[in-house]
């Protein structure tokens, strides 16, 4: 009997999540609820657990969940393998996308899409309609079609790697996209392009969890809710104005209050 979420209006519901790496606790009771179509931002100083949260949600085997539960679209997320989470509609845009020499972009995305369609009991795309779909999505995120015929991320610049993450997101059409410090390592022009790409993918049935260090990205991707993560817990939540406040005063007041 599959368990169902106690909070059906939420796409993602994280309750008392504790997780860490080996014996070191990093997340110490995360509470987070995201409704369909909402954009949430998580900010916080270095080492507060931002990237751990995204990795745990995506199912990275390096992290161990010690307590808590996560409901995703009415299903218990933590019981799923990483690939099942993805097929269910969760997408993580990596801070450091991995280079896969010898794995072609086309083969990679085709395989991913096939497995997703199979999981969702949809008719798989034939070769012709796949190519058309790929072309359309590359145009949507302005990915150079030459990159699309290379090995995954191999020899891509920082900006190209981030844009490739967006392209994969556009291909896989997730319900929830987690952007893990997508702004890191990008200059202001590249940042704008990536933000435009994200905004183009916003829709009433797609939510975003934007993890970032700086307020800068949030000027372009305006969030509905901003959370401050510190020392493994969310210590403050507010609207977009909270991000501006953090930008003005830095994290020191937060650190002082919650030390």
């Amino acid at each position: 009997m599959p368990m169902t979420s106690p909070n059906p209006p939420f796409l993602l519901s994280v309750n008392q999540l504790h997780a860490g790496i080996e014996d070191k606790p990093i997340l110490k009771g995360i509470e987070l609820q995201i409704k369909p179509g909402e954009v949430h931002a998580i900010m916080g100083p270095n080492g507060s657990g931002k990237s751990t949260l995204s990795s745990v949600l995506a199912g990275h085997p390096q992290y161990t969940v010690t307590r808590g539960e996560v409901w995703f679209n009415g299903k218990s997320l933590l019981e799923m393998e990483p690939e099942v989470r993805a097929r269910e509609g969760l997408f993580l845009a990596f801070q450091y996308p991995v280079e896969l020499p010898g794995v072609s972009m086309t083969n990679f995305m085709k395989t991913a899409l096939q497995e997703q369609y199979l999981h969702q009991e949809r008719e798989p795309l034939n070769a012709k309609s796949y190519l058309a779909y790929q072309k359309q999505k590359q145009a949507e995120v302005q990915l150079d079609s030459r990159l699309g015929s290379r090995s995954v991320n191999e020899g891509f610049s920082g900006g190209e790697k981030k844009r490739n993450e967006l392209y994969q997101m556009a291909m896989l059409q997730p319900k929830l996209a987690i952007l893990d410090e997508t702004d890191s390592g990008l200059d202001i022009d590249a940042l704008k392009i990536v933000a435009q790409g994200v905004n183009a993918l916003r829709s009433p049935d797609r939510s975003f969890l934007v993890i970032t260090h700086y307020q800068r990205l949030l000027e372009y991707i305006v969030p509905d809710v901003v959370h401050v993560l510190y020392n493994g817990v969310i210590v403050q939540s507010g609207d977009a104005a909270l991000a501006l406040e953090l930008e003005k005063h830095g994290y020191d007041p937060i650190k002082a209050r919650f030390q």
Partner: protein, 417 residues
């Protein structure tokens, strides 16, 4: 008659006096040297540095009988590879299904027209065995009037309801300026347990070029000892890819002797090692003159309880200045009990050379695996993609697309299922 004689040198010598020495193609002096080596040395054991990880001892139980008439000759399926000259070496005996193209001659070593076999040094035990117990030995001559870019496809198979040793030798002489493509394919025959003890020589005259592909099919329960010796004269170019997709025990020695300036050679090797199998590559790049170039790239995918070995010697003689030699060995272990032994060995006696090497051995990158999984690709499929990418890197470097495709198909159908 079936004799387990390899561990008993005296009896072996007795046998050689009798009917078992079917073909005698070398001078008496060489034969007697071989006999001395056989009676003096035993089959190399793990105590021998060159055979440390290669468990030849298991071959002792294979009798050294001759493949007699009544032994069934294997029948080969049609091949998908196109060639200008197809040769079959079945149970150690050459068959030529079609007429020879112009400018190509094939002789037995015992033929008066053949170039006699010369041994510069004492033969190893296995070579001595190969010579003294030869089923036969052949020479292929690519003459100056041969057509351009001749494609030769040599297919080997041993029948083996009863196990035995097959000793055979092939020599390929390529005239100046000729460019040849040669595929040696070792086919798997169901239930064959033979030991193939195969020696081959490739003599590239000035400006000659040989594009060589060695394919060891999977599924063979056989034991393969293959020793290749390549002589490169001025500006000769040699390129080889050895693709081994499974053999109980495979020992592949590949020696390149650079004897003429501006000669260059590249060795690539891809080993797909199944459980309980051992695939052992030993290479030697012998740079004897100045301005020569060598390149080596070996990769192996090792299943749990499989063993891969790579030992690569780069030997640069004192006057071989401006030598440029590179070597790399990369291995992916696919289980906790997969083993890999790799050893670069640089022996440099000249002072103005560029020699380098690199080696890496490890499990599949967990970050890469997670990245694929995070896109919805199942773990098994993700592993398959990463193995495929690892192996294809070498295959795609092959300059003949047809052969690269053929190997890619073998990779997918025989390994990455």
């Amino acid at each position: 008659m079936s004799l387990t004689v390899l561990d008993s040198s005296q009896r072996l010598t007795d046998v050689l006096q009798n009917e078992h020495r079917k073909v005698m193609y070398v001078q008496d002096s060489i034969l007697s040297t071989c006999l001395q080596v056989i009676s003096h040395d035993g089959l190399p054991t793990a105590k021998n540095e060159w055979y440390k990880y290669c468990p030849l001892a298991q071959l002792l139980r294979i009798p050294l009988t001759e493949l007699r008439q009544e032994f069934k000759v294997p029948i080969l399926d049609a091949t998908a590879l196109r060639s200008d000259l197809e040769l079959h070496i079945l149970n150690g005996i050459l068959q030529i299904p079609n007429a020879l193209p112009e400018g190509i001659a094939i002789y037995n070593f015992s033929d008066p027209l053949a170039t006699p076999l010369n041994l510069n040094t004492n033969p190893s035990y296995l070579e001595a065995l190969n010579i003294a117990y030869a089923h036969d030995a052949y020479q292929i001559h690519i003459l100056p009037n041969a057509p351009e870019n001749v494609r030769i496809h040599v297919r080997f198979a041993q029948e083996g309801q009863s196990s035995t040793w097959v000793n055979t030798r092939l020599q390929l002489h390529i005239a100046s300026g000729k460019r040849i493509q040669c595929v040696e394919e070792f086919c798997s025959i169901q239930g064959a347990h033979a030991v193939l003890n195969y020696f081959s020589d490739y003599i590239l005259h000035n400006n000659a070029e040989l594009h060589h592909t060695i394919i060891q099919e999977s599924g063979a329960q056989g034991y393969h000892i293959q020793h290749r010796n390549v002589i490169l004269n001025e500006q000769a170019n040699y390129q080889a890819l050895t693709f081994v997709a499974g053999v109980s025990l495979g020992r592949f020695d590949h020696v390149l002797c650079f004897k003429g300036h501006s000669a260059s050679g590249t060795l690539r090797g891809l080993s797909l090692v199944n459980p309980q199998e051992c695939i052992d590559h030993h290479t030697r790049m012998q740079h004897e003159v100045a301005h020569t170039q060598s390149n080596q790239m070996y990769k192996s995918l090792v299943a749990n309880k499989g063993t891969a070995v790579f030992n690569g010697v780069i030997h640069v003689l004192p006057h071989a200045q401006k030598t440029d030699a590179y070597q790399s060995s990369k291995n992916m272990l696919l289980g906790e009990d997969a083993q890999c032994f790799t050893k670069p060995q640089l022996e440099i006696f000249a002072n103005d050379v560029k020699c380098s090497h690199g080696t890496s051995t490890g499990h599949m990158d967990p970050q890469a695996l997670f990245y694929l999984q995070s896109r919805g690709i199942g773990k098994k499929e993700a592993q398959r993609l990463l193995q495929d990418a690892f192996a294809l890197e070498l295959i795609r470097q092959h300059d003949a697309t047809e052969i690269a495709d053929y190997l890619e198909h073998k990779l997918n159908s025989q390994w990455l299922q």
